[in-house]
Symmetry: C2
Subunit: 221 residues, 2 copies
DNA sequence: TCACTAATGTACGAACCAGTACGTTAGCTA
DNA sequence: TAGCTAACGTACTGGTTCGTACATTAGTGA
């Protein structure tokens, strides 16, 4: 994530605003994801960087703004991943399944991001609201879904009455829950939703679910 | 002039251990749900009861145990609701749809419970693990799902390869996400998942999704 | 090379907050 | 009715934690 172009430094302070900020963001992401907003300790973040607490306030202003910056970067990562989506050469069914699988994989590979989103929801998205970047970040995935959905619905293959936002919610629900709630679910029902042995099962389940929903014969009234 | 909602009592303190504990749990539930575990303030909980902080420690021992007690009661409520389920006189398709709708409604009606579950997952279910009650609480809903699923699969109506736990996860995902993540989802995509005007749409969407999944024609390889 | 500024480090303070020591009283029962 | 104990209140403490005042240095441009 951080570019590695720094050779060995002899001694004393090095000055590199970009690297210092990136390092603070890296560690802050871990700390906020680990402990939540109120559980996170600014001193702990500082201790785990090569700089001091002073610099966190110098660059970010405060704990709130630091958390906002962490969110901004985290959402930036998923947005980039979505921009790399390449499914529109497939037929609608295969395209949607692929998209669901990519979403599934992304959630699995970024549990810290999932935790940050949970935390931000506990705080009723106040940091997103306070962020200028995040307000208008948009979602490339939504555009992709829109186009696939249009193709599928035109051809009569997709019968469901959904738009891209709703379908995105459906897919995200399953992927998010599986990662975010695995602890309580595991403790209460004795099943680890993220057990690698069951990974393919759930991945297929998600795809089957979405496709079945989209292509089901409707008993219209 | 004090408002008298209790039967005539001379003056000063009243003594009622049961009521005091219940009141602490009520307020603590709100406070923990509002602010998360670390964000919640014991002093704030005490201030909003008719008793003092001393009694929280007297009855519950500490903040951790209080949170555990809050979780125990919250899970008790959902368990009771599940025991009231009466869907097994319906045919499998109608029964599953009804069950999904009941789950949907319960999530919508208990946003504080949803928040507590999110919070407990941030803490990796450590309080559930520490609770003797919650370890073996079981789930009446799971038994109901099992039986409906068996009926549906025997008759060949249900073709999907799922068990009760997986189906429960699928249904819960959607219901949970819609409530828990409504803030970030709304902020990012401009759609309020809990808008009353869209309530029926999502309720139907959930039922359609689950039934479509269970009854889809399988292209077995 | 000299001055200026961005970047950094140290030390500290003030508020907050979980938890407790100690004292008091209501209500029951012997 | 005396005495006992569960139930309650007050006032405080010790540690924690966000934030900052003040001091310092690296690098840059004139």
């Amino acid at each position: 994530m951080t570019s590695v172009d720094e050779p060995a430094r002899p001694n004393g302070r090095i000055r590199d605003a970009v690297r210092t900020q990136a390092e603070i963001l890296d560690v802050a992401t871990q700390e906020f994801a680990r402990a939540g907003y109120d559980g996170a300790r600014v001193d702990e973040i500082a201790a785990r960087t090569r700089t001091t607490k002073r610099m966190i306030y110098y660059y970010f202003g405060g704990k709130e703004q630091l958390f906002t910056a962490v969110l901004e970067r985290a959402y930036g990562v998923i947005r980039e991943a979505e921009q790399g989506l390449d499914v529109e050469h497939l037929d609608p069914v295969a395209a949607i399944r692929k998209l669901a699988e990519v979403t599934f994989d992304h959630h699995e590979q970024h549990p810290d991001f999932i935790r940050l989103v949970s935390i931000e929801n506990i705080h009723e998205a106040e940091h997103i609201a306070a962020s200028e970047k995040l307000g208008k970040i948009g979602s490339p995935a939504l555009d992709v879904i829109s186009r696939i959905l249009a193709t599928g619905q035109e051809s009569g293959l997709f019968t469901a009455d959904v738009d891209a936002v709703d379908l995105h919610a459906m897919i995200s629900s399953f992927c998010f829950f599986r990662v975010a709630n695995r602890h309580t679910f595991g403790a209460l029902f004795g099943r680890d939703l993220t057990d690698p042995d069951r990974r393919e099962h759930y991945r297929a389940m998600l795809g089957d679910m979405v496709i079945a929903y989209l292509t089901a014969e409707r008993t219209t009234d």
